[in-house]
């Protein structure tokens, strides 16, 4: 599996993924997010002061598992994340999502100071067909 296939298969699974982060106290957290592939990175709109943002500031490791299909196919992507609050970057990506971010941040990229993005650089991925019972595929950055 190459990164293009990771993007293709994850996108085909639907709009929802579950993003896991770990706090400074080593406690895991997982929440549903609506990710968007932009180039070779995954972007997720988040609250600037959310648990996700605080966890990423303390520990940039994230794992994302897209909602599994009815057949049990699923993909998990691991990577490192950074919280993006720079307005120019927010403006750049704001309209690249497949849903209207203004519905959640009516001030738009320039007047929504509480909104931010998690930019995730994927490092590896695991595709499981029928929860792994029908096989698996892996991708690692640089491979």
């Amino acid at each position: 599996m190459n990164l293009g296939e990771v993007k293709e298969r994850s996108t085909a699974l639907g709009m929802w993924a579950y993003m896991a982060t770990v706090g400074a106290d080593s406690k895991p957290d997982v929440v549903p997010v609506h990710p968007c592939w932009i180039g070779d990175e995954v972007w997720v709109m988040i609250g600037k002061d959310s648990v996700k943002a605080r966890n990423i500031a303390a520990n940039p490791n994230v794992a994302m598992h897209w909602t599994a299909s009815a057949e049990g196919d699923g993909v998990e992507v691991w990577g490192t994340a950074e919280v993006v609050t720079d307005v120019a970057e927010k403006v750049r990506v704001w309209t690249l999502f497949d849903y209207d971010l203004n519905a959640f941040a009516p001030g738009g990229p320039e007047e929504s100071p509480d909104s931010a993005f998690a930019k995730i650089t994927p490092e590896r991925a695991l595709w499981l067909a029928m929860y792994g019972m029908k096989g698996s595929d892996r991708w690692t950055a640089g491979s």
Binding site: Y18, A20, S26
Partner: protein
């Protein structure tokens, strides 16, 4: 914030179905999350998993787990999140005690039956649970141990 009892949490979980996303963390701080079938037994959440899987390796070194039931239109975009202290049930006696109580046929996933050590159980003792109504915009309910 409305206070819940653990019985309220268990009842609430029935709306979401059996599968939930379980997050664990490795000793070096790498998270992992997968959808897992979870069953409440005597106030503890149990999952039947591969003994050599990542979840088990993580829990043996970091006993914290976080469970998030899937959010969907079917449940009005409500969330149910459960923070847990997790442990591994991998003894034969432990597996026997749980084998017939999960609410589905475990032998479909472990043909070797209860005697096989290839699968074991995660016991997740809840310490806190939170229900967010419509992403929290319509209220928040909390239970604490």
């Amino acid at each position: 914030v409305t206070a819940l009892s653990l019985d309220d949490v268990i009842e609430e979980s029935k709306r979401f179905g059996r599968t939930a996303f379980v997050a664990t963390a490795s000793p070096d701080g790498e998270p992992h999350t997968v959808p897992v079938a979870c069953t409440w037994i005597d106030g503890v959440l149990y999952a039947f998993v591969l003994t050599n899987g990542k979840k088990i390796r993580n829990i043996r070194t970091n006993p914290r787990a976080f469970v998030h039931y899937p959010v969907s239109e079917d449940t009005n975009w409500d969330s149910l999140m459960v923070t847990c202290d997790a442990s591994v049930v991998d003894t034969l006696d432990g597996r026997r005690a749980l084998w017939d109580r999960m609410g589905y046929d475990l032998s479909a996933f472990e043909p070797g039956g209860v005697e096989s050590g290839n699968h074991c159980f995660i016991a997740m003792r809840p310490t806190q649970a939170t229900v967010l109504r419509f992403y929290g915009l319509k209220g928040r309910e909390v239970w604490r141990a």
